[in-house]
């Protein structure tokens, strides 16, 4: 990483010009920061979406914080976040490692695995809803009693069905991230390990995993913070039901705002969602350690 001219050295020391970030920052300001303050303001008002917006002090916050449905929504969100991570992380890591090798059949499989990512969440949800229908779905259609469960109507089962469908849709994305990460690991590390007599499993744990540390952090951040934004898929698949079984925080916010027409309470829920999202993102970045920008690549 050595440079010869003084001007480019200065650029490297200071980093690229801050103006490069300007277009993105303008959009971020317009579509994220300003609405965020709008939502904060609305959370102190009473508004049914039609009439006047009236200042209402803390009453929306009192409603939201004392409502057991909010607590339940947080709990459901936490469960989906946890199980999504537990299911998606190992599968996408292993698939990523598998598809990173250069054999032709692996490349062909990688293309197949990628297909769910191309479908819209609403389409995925509608397809699964039809497949899982207890009376007209896959199970009764093929005469397989095991598949004829009440997948989306059983309060105990539905959460895991939702986790499965989410995983089906998002594992390809994380597989792609891991595939890229694994391909960056220098082959010389594996050659050295082979000379030292390390087996495949040993190589995976001693080289692949440690080298993927930052890929894992990136993918995990996206998984965890992303699970705060699962909305469309769950909305179409279950509508938050049965009862409150799959009423995630973002879904609860939407239903409060646009079905019950209580924009004040919905905005308070929105603020809670933002705070949790920020806290989780910061926490995961911390886990990466202070030295997180240092490259692990040999010779870099």
């Amino acid at each position: 990483m050595s440079t010869s001219t003084g001007s480019s050295r200065r650029v490297l020391e200071k980093g690229p010009s801050g103006w490069l970030a300007a277009p993105a920052l303008v959009f971020f300001l317009l579509f994220a920061i300003i609405p965020l303050f709008g939502v904060l303001f609305l959370s102190f008002t009473k508004w049914d979406g039609l009439g006047e917006i009236k200042l209402d002090g803390l009453s929306s916050w009192t409603t939201v914080l004392t409502d057991p449905v909010t607590g339940n929504a947080l709990w459901v969100t936490a469960k989906i976040m946890f199980f999504s991570f537990i299911v998606q992380a190992p599968i996408s890591l292993l698939l990523g490692v598998f598809t990173s090798a250069s054999q032709k059949y692996r490349a062909a499989l990688a293309v197949l695995y990628f297909v769910p990512l191309l479908l819209s969440s609403a389409a995925v949800a509608i397809a699964y809803k039809a497949l899982l229908d207890p009376n007209f779905g896959l199970g009764p259609g093929l005469g397989l009693p095991f598949l004829a469960q009440d997948w989306l109507g059983n309060s105990d089962l539905v959460l895991f069905v939702v986790v499965f469908v989410i995983a089906w849709q998002f594992v390809p994305f994380h597989t792609l991230i891991y595939q890229g990460g694994v391909r960056q690991i220098p082959a010389s590390l594996y050659e050295a390990a082979q000379i030292d007599g390390a087996g495949r499993v040993q190589q995976f744990f001693a080289i692949t995993l440690p080298q993927l540390k930052y890929t894992i952090i990136t993918s995990s951040t996206l998984m965890v913070v992303g699970s705060l934004a699962y909305f469309d898929l769950v909305f179409v698949l279950t509508g938050g039901g049965p009862g409150y079984s799959t009423r995630l925080l973002p879904l609860h916010m939407y239903l409060t705002g646009f079905k019950a027409n209580d924009m004040g309470a919905a905005s308070a829920l929105g603020v809670i969602l933002v705070v949790i999202g920020l806290a989780l993102a910061l926490l995961l970045q911390r886990l990466g350690g202070k030295n997180r920008n240092a490259s692990q690549l040999e010779g870099a």
Binding site: A32, D133, V225, F231, Y244, F258, M263, A281, Q285
Partner: protein
């Protein structure tokens, strides 16, 4: 480095922020749907619902636009649940259509309170022909505080208990006339491997039909009238609790189809259970006749579809002829529309709606128009049995209670549907339902 970290954290958090910003951005994109080919920017716009009445409305507007190109109306269609959310957001953001489709009741009142719909009283009094074409009992649902804000636009939709005659013959049973008969049928159908009742539980509003009719039969129309009038503690009426207990009894007995809480009524999966013989009965609105006529033409044509009023409950106070459901749907005119849009809209209401062709198209689709003097037309229809039945039911009902989720304010209606869902799932007791709902009185 510290700054970069904050930036990264912010970027990751943007996902969450975007979700939070949904209330703002959705309000911003509330303009009308797919562009229509007719009219210009100042033409009146109309949002209708997909389903049984869609072709009828399309035909009516097409005919109007052909005859009045200078007052053309732009028409777009939306699915029921999506429409209810979209129209409110759009109207709130000043992007609503000229014609606002509605159900009357508490939801209409919230539009009136916000000053979003035009007062049509003068229009109605200066156009007696418009007033006189409607059944008076239906027309009054568009009146709030003595002023007309909405005019009926389609068909009368009482809730009916439909049954599959074929499966009733199979087990040798008769349609239930009392609640006890209904409960006695449950084990018989279950033994034959047929679900006694189909129910679109995921959509939640079909659940409500059970509560509406049971409360009506047990306590009469006053029970809900008190609730709708926001009288404190109105939900504590013993009729509500008894109705909820009866619902839970029926759930316990296995009265509803396998997986009823994941069946959506919007996709017509609930009716499909009935006409495929997987379920014996379904309590649903008059409008499903229209869709079954299309989706299961042979089933309807060959007289396999039976229908009765909701059974009586022993010791109940309600008149068995009383009806719940939707008296009709309504057009309101946006108060924010331009003068030329309003004029076009009122001209259409005056002379484009319920033309002979419209009325005939409604009848042909299997619906009963809310207009007077249609007896002979109904009698000439191939669906005359059902249509005359529905017409008589609506006309002779001492009381016709509007669907509760539309009669109450949106906040109350939403809480009621969510809690009723919990009743069907047996997650809460009738007592809990009553106390939760009493807390929403006045909201």
């Amino acid at each position: 480095m510290e700054l970069q970290m904050v930036k990264l954290a912010l970027r990751s958090a943007a996902i969450a922020v975007t979700a939070a910003a949904v209330s703002i951005s959705l309000a911003a994109c509330g303009s009308s749907g797919p562009a229509s080919s007719v009219g210009n920017a100042d033409s009146a716009s109309m949002w209708g619902l997909t389903g049984g009445n869609q072709p009828v409305l399309q035909k009516s507007i097409d005919a109007w636009n052909k005859a009045h190109p200078d007052e053309a109306v732009k028409l777009d269609f939306f699915a029921n649940d999506a429409y209810k959310t979209k129209v409110r957001t759009a109207v709130g953001a000043g992007q609503g259509p000229t014609f606002i489709y509605g159900w009357g009741g508490g939801v209409l009142k919230s539009y009136v309170d916000a000053g979003q719909v035009a007062d049509l009283s003068d229009f109605v009094s200066s156009n007696p022909d418009v007033k006189n074409r409607y059944l008076p009992s239906v027309l009054k649902n568009g009146v709030i505080d003595g002023k007309t804000y909405a005019l009926p636009n389609n068909n009368v939709q009482p809730v009916v208990l439909y049954y599959n005659k074929e499966v009733f013959d199979k087990i040798g049973a008769q349609a239930p006339k009392t609640w006890d008969e209904l409960m006695a049928l449950v084990p018989k159908f279950k033994a034959a491997g047929i679900a006694p009742f189909s129910l679109g539980g995921q959509s939640k509003w079909p659940d409500l039909m059970w509560l509406e009719y049971l409360v009506e039969r047990i306590g009469g129309p006053d029970v809900f009238a008190n609730i709708a009038a926001n009288k404190p503690g109105a939900w504590s009426d013993p009729a509500v609790k008894e109705a909820l207990s009866k619902i839970q009894d029926l759930v316990d007995a296995g009265g509803f189809a396998n997986g009823f809480s994941s069946i959506a009524a919007d996709s017509n999966a609930d009716q499909a259970l009935l006409y495929t013989g997987k379920a014996a009965m379904i309590l649903q609105g008059g409008w499903i006749y229209q869709s079954m006529k299309k989706d299961a033409a042979d089933f309807v044509k060959n007289g396999k579809l039976g229908y009765v009023t909701f059974p009586t409950v022993s010791g109940g106070k309600g008149d068995p002829a009383n009806v719940v459901g939707n008296p009709s749907n309504f057009w309101s005119i946006s108060s924010k529309a331009t003068d030329s849009q309003k004029k076009a809209a009122l001209d259409y209401v005056k002379s484009g709606m319920f033309t002979d062709a419209d009325t005939q198209a409604l009848i042909d689709s299997g619906a009963v128009p809310v207009t007077t003097g249609i007896e002979s037309k109904l009698a000439a229809s191939p669906d005359k049995d059902f249509l005359s039945y529905v017409y008589g039911m609506a006309k002779n009902a001492p009381s016709f209670t509007l669907s509760w989720d539309q009669a109450l304010s949106p906040a109350q209606g939403d809480a009621m549907l969510a809690n009723l869902d919990q009743i069907f799932l047996k997650k809460i007791s009738p007592d809990q339902f009553v106390s939760t709902m009493n807390a929403t009185i006045g909201k």
